[in-house]
């Protein structure tokens, strides 16, 4: 072991990074690489475990911390923090993780895609490590949600099983909702303590308990803890989660994830516990969960169901111990957490083996397995005895501590019999269900009708159980020599000075707790003998009196109610018609904009602007533009072609305005955009319904139509006026001497390396905005594509257009001509010219792109120019001809463009700069000469690719719409490839 290996920060990092890296690697393995994935996971768990063990000497005196700056402006850093408590939980997570991996290697069928399973399992391990090693509350909440997420994926691993899907969804809903509550809780906690750093928070105990926000904060934190640790009334998801593969149940739902809630309560115990509120909430939840879980476990017919309810009950026990708020209660809670993890994980694995070997988990069908699998039976019996609290096993010790605490509850007003009696009752139940588990499964006559003949499992599948049961026994006999020092470190790390005296000895003399234990053992046995038959023949597989309180039913009811309520809301507020939707969206947008603008509106005259004398040429230009726009609006309903032409006129007017006002960059872009927009609009026109004068419209409808049009007009005018007002206000603002415009002009070259300020603005200073904008552009392209993929035109535009029909009829009349010849002839010269112009336009696009950083141009303009080149080819030669020769694959362009832009932005992280920081220099290239090569040019390439992809995507979608066979056209051509294939 060298010094580098022993460096605490590296060890800390490897404890949390190894599982995540392993998860990614496992996910990349081939589909059925069972051994590879298992070996990888095993190594990962061992690396983490060895790191933890090497770190132990460092944490006996106090926490080890490693900080990575994350969001310093918010006071949130990524802090890895390991102390005694988190060390114990880490070892639990990694150690049981290693055993579960070994077990899962044999449990999982070679027909399952096992690498996916191990990838989830490792990712869960990483998330769990993140929770227990978090030195920052927000970080803890994030990893907390990650554990919920991977638990969901693991429960739903066999996703073609309905039960697995339902169980996964329920677990996710409950635990992730709890995680959100936890986030609120830790935000409140951080607010009270003044920092999210765990060490600061832990040092602010008095401040937190005195705060008026203490109670709401406590409730939210506990909601998180209770949902995760399956405390009543949120316990119902855990039995449903048993649809998961058994290694998952053994790992997540007994040993680790459900302990996250317990961990959280322990972690925050010094600052939260000890108040009346804490005692009332945590104690009540704990005792209820303890009793209900134990009682329900008795009646389960499913092996795993029994274990699940038993887990709930034990979690309730630990919660109750924490709720008591006494240091000794804390010691007992921590001890029982460790013990429970060992015996419950081994029991789950045993249940999995039984299921694996016999094909059933039904306690009513199982019987006499003692003969078929003697070793497994012995192991399971010992583990179940530990669960029941039989002396000389670890479960006995912590249960004894629990009973002692129940008897000596220091609260005067609670010095009554209730708590000890209930504790004894719950212990009796535990004995009862443990006994039933053992007796039904392993004793009695050998079962006859099992789906498969049971025998012992492979040795290495049994090995994890052997090891865990060995721990149960060793800890149960010599606790002080085995678990003692580690437990002490864990307790010390939380309680510090307040660490009480406690003894782990097996024999404390004949006292009240021991008597209670003996009563429970005897009582449980007697009850089992008495009620064995009715329990085993109970058809419900659950206690009857719980029906009204059944969490699953309540959950389903709430879910159904939510669905119904949203449907009602959608039917009241929503509509399927496009126009009202658009109108509502625009009205809401307008309202929001007005509200947002109001505070900045300090009167029109306040600016003291003076009107410059208008240039007559400019006035004429604008009058023309306004006229075009008005005619376009006027004609849009019935003369769409004229409207599109007029729209082009209005666009040209604004284009010339840009030239006039010395903005060549905007003018270039505007011109190119106008061209593409017009072409795409014209292509779409063909699919709009025709006007039918023959339809008689009743006068009442006419009135309504008129009213609707007037209201549309008003909306349009309001929106236009508002936009104009904003523009007016902004343009008449006095230019501040240190305004942002000046800043850009002065720093564009110096910091962005470009003389074209607009382009530098787009790809450098405001590159994040551009990234957002191109994402939207990509989305628009995808949306048009998706809409047109399923678009079925109206009946009247289904047939070929009249022109096509006439031409074909004419061609068909002549013997010497083929259908389509007329079109061919017409397009002969244009086609040749357009084809020859293709490389020229591509060159032009490259030119625009390369000069963009210093002179008008840039990725956006280049992208539009490039797509014009493609559009021309489609127009000149037809879709089939082009696609036979050139597959453009616009979806790839979109993906590449967005990917390049994002990666360029992330590239600056490598050099330690924030996202999208740019860097530039000039380079001497052959032929081209001196070319500016800022890193922003890569970003610009991304913009270029996305613009091309998005535009061409729309084009191709429209083009293929025309290729779909109208009914009256004979299939003269081979069918065109489906749209999905060309893109």
């Amino acid at each position: 072991m060298t010094d580098t290996l022993a460096r605490p920060d590296l060890l800390l990092l490897s404890m949390i990074l190894a599982p995540w890296v392993g998860a990614v690697l496992a996910g990349l393995l081939p589909r059925y690489a069972r051994n590879g994935a298992a070996a990888l996971s095993w190594v990962v768990a061992l690396v983490g475990l060895v790191s933890a063990i090497l770190l132990y000497p460092n944490i006996t005196d106090g926490p080890v911390r490693h900080e990575i700056r994350w969001m310093p402006s918010l006071g949130i850093d990524f802090v890895l923090r390991l102390d005694g408590l988190s060390w114990l939980f880490s070892v639990l997570v990694l150690g049981i993780g290693a055993l579960v991996v070994l077990y899962a290697r044999y449990y999982m069928s070679p027909k399952d895609p096992v690498p996916r399973f191990f990838a989830y399992l490792l990712a869960f391990m990483g998330a769990m490590q993140g929770v227990v090693m978090a030195g920052n509350l927000v970080q803890l909440a994030i990893f907390w949600e990650l554990t919920s997420l991977f638990s969901f994926l693991l429960i739903g691993y066999w996703y073609n099983n309905q039960l697995a899907r339902d169980g996964a969804r329920m677990a996710l809903t409950v635990t992730a909702a709890g995680g959100l509550c936890l986030l609120i809780g830790v935000l409140l906690l951080g607010h009270i303590a003044g920092s999210y750093d765990l060490d600061v928070v832990l040092g602010a105990g008095d401040q937190i308990k005195r705060s008026p926000l203490y109670l709401p904060m406590l409730v939210f934190v506990l909601l998180g803890a209770f949902t995760k640790s399956a405390q009543f009334p949120f316990h119902f998801w855990l039995p449903r989660a048993m649809a998961a593969p058994t290694p998952v149940s053994a790992y997540l739902h007994s040993a680790t994830m459900v302990k996250a809630g317990i961990f959280l309560m322990m972690r925050l115990w010094p600052v939260l516990a000890g108040t009346e509120e804490w005692y009332a909430i945590v104690g009540t939840a704990g005792i209820l969960t303890l009793l209900i879980g134990a009682y329900a476990a008795i009646f389960q017919h499913d092996l795993k169901g029994l274990l699940a309810y038993s887990t709930i009950s034990h979690l309730g026990l630990i919660t109750l111990l924490l709720g008591l708020g006494t240091p000794l209660g804390f010691v007992a809670a921590l001890f029982h957490t460790l013990n429970h993890a060992t015996f419950k994980a081994s029991l789950f694995m045993a249940a999995g083996i039984i299921d694996h070997e016999t094909g059933t988990r039904d306690l009513r069908r199982l019987s006499g397995l003692r003969k078929a699998m003697p070793i497994t039976a012995t192991l399971a019996i010992v583990a179940a005895a530990a669960m029941a609290g039989v002396p000389l096993l670890n479960g006995f010790l912590s249960k004894e501590m629990f009973l002692a605490e129940a008897v000596s509850n220091p609260r005067d007003y609670d010095r009554n019999l209730l708590l000890p009696v209930l504790a004894t009752l719950a212990s009796t139940f535990a004995v009862l269900y443990s006994l039933r588990f053992i007796h039904q499964t392993f004793f009695g006559p050998p079962a006859q009708d099992l789906p498969s003949t049971p025998h012992e499992p492979p040795h290495w599948m049994r090995f994890p159980i052997e090891l865990l049961v060995l721990i149960c026994v060793v800890v149960g006999i010599i606790p002080g020599l085995t678990i003692g020092p580690f437990l002490a470190t864990g307790v010390q790390s939380v309680l510090g000075e307040a660490t009480p005296y406690y003894s782990l000895a097996v024999w404390h003399g004949f006292n009240l707790p021991l008597l209670m234990s003996l009563v429970a053992l005897a009582g449980g046995t007697v009850l089992y003998v008495l009620f064995r038959r009715p329990i085993n023949t109970n058809p419900h597989g659950g206690p009857r009196l719980f029906r009204p309180f059944d969490g699953v039913r309540i959950f389903d009811g709430v879910m159904n109610g939510l669905t119904a309520a949203s449907e009602r809301g959608a039917s009241v507020f929503g509509t399927n018609r496009l126009q009202p939707q658009l109108r509502n969206i625009i009205l809401v947008m307008l309202l929001a904009a007005v509200l947002a603008a109001l505070p900045f509106w300090s009167g029109l005259g306040a600016n003291g602007f003076t009107l410059t004398p208008p240039d007559p040429g400019f006035v004429v230009l604008w009058l023309l533009g306004i006229g075009c726009a008005l005619i376009a609006a006027w004609q849009a309903k019935y003369h769409r072609l004229a409207a599109v032409v007029m729209l082009g006129g209005a666009g040209l007017a604004s284009c010339i305005s840009f030239v006039w006002l010395s903005a060549p960059d905007l003018a270039t872009t505007q011109l190119l955009v106008e061209v593409v927009t017009t072409v795409l609009l014209l292509l779409g026109l063909r699919w709009l319904p025709k006007r039918q004068d023959a339809i008689h419209i009743p006068p009442s409808e006419q009135r309504r139509a008129k009213a609707r049009r007037v209201s549309d007009l008003l909306v349009a005018i309001a929106f236009g006026a508002f936009t104009a007002a904003i523009a007016f206000r902004v343009m008449t603002m006095p230019a501040a001497p240190d305004g942002i415009g000046r800043f850009f002009l002065e720093h564009a070259y110096e910091q962005g390396g470009g003389r074209n300020v607009v382009n530098v603005l787009l790809v450098d200073f405001r590159a994040l905005d551009t990234l957002g904008e191109i994402s939207v552009l990509g989305l628009v392209g995808l949306t048009v594509f998706a809409l047109l993929l399923r678009f079925r035109p109206g009946a009247d535009s289904l047939s070929a257009p009249e022109q096509q029909r006439v031409q074909r009829a004419s061609d068909e009349r002549h013997e010497t001509r083929q259908p389509g010849d007329t079109l061919q002839d017409t397009m002969l010269v244009p086609r040749v010219v357009m084809q020859w112009l293709f490389p020229v336009i591509v060159l032009f696009a490259v030119h625009l792109f390369l000069r963009g950083h210093d002179e008008p141009g840039g990725g956006f303009a280049a992208g539009i120019a490039m797509s014009i080149a493609f559009i021309l080819q489609y127009m000149a030669s037809g879709t089939r001809w082009v696609e036979d020769r050139l597959r453009i694959r616009p979806l790839k362009w979109v993906a590449l463009g967005l990917g390049i832009a994002t990666l360029t932005g992330m590239g600056s992280w490598i050099f330690g700069y924030p996202f999208l920081t740019s860097w530039f220099r000039y380079a001497e290239l052959p032929v081209l000469g001196r070319v500016p090569l800022p890193s922003a040019i890569l970003f610009d390439i991304g913009v270029f690719g996305l613009v091309v992809g998005s535009t061409v995507l729309v084009l191709i979608a429209l083009a293929h719409q025309s290729l779909r066979k109208p009914r009256d056209r004979a299939p003269a051509h081979p069918p065109a490839p489906p749209l999905e294939e060309v893109v």
């Binding site: 022109q803 006439v806 004419s810 002549h814 010497t816 001509r817 010269v829 244009p830 010219v833």
Partner: protein, 116 residues
């Protein structure tokens, strides 16, 4: 455009004359487009501006910038090249569409379908 003052007087005259002549031809074409009656007549009018008119303006521009920059500037020739290439496309498409429409409507104006 402040550099325009550095131009020799004779050159200023020539450039102005060329530009004005080109613009004038384009104006004539535009008026023709407005005044002529039939489509097939009107389609010819704008070509005045697109051919000779354009040539004169481009000539003016080449002369102006060549003298100003002290070397032969030919990049404006690209305008001439591309306009010459692309204008016929528009005209052919327009004329074909008109012929098609007139034939479909059975107008006397156009020669009947050659393939009859």
């Amino acid at each position: 455009m402040t550099d325009a003052a550095q131009l020799p007087l004779w050159a200023a005259w020539v450039v102005t004359a060329l530009a004005l002549a080109g613009a004038g031809l384009s104006l004539v074409g535009a008026i023709g487009l407005l005044r002529l009656r039939r489509f097939y007549e009107r389609v010819h009018a704008p070509t005045l501006g697109a051919t000779l008119g354009m040539g004169l303006v481009v000539g003016a521009s080449i002369l102006f910038f060549s003298l100003l920059e002290g070397e032969l500037v030919l990049r404006d020739g690209l305008i001439a090249l591309f306009l010459t290439l692309t204008t016929p496309v528009t005209l052919i498409l327009l004329a074909r569409a008109a012929v098609f429409r007139d034939r479909t409507e059975g107008s006397e104006d156009v020669p009947a379908d050659l393939h009859h």
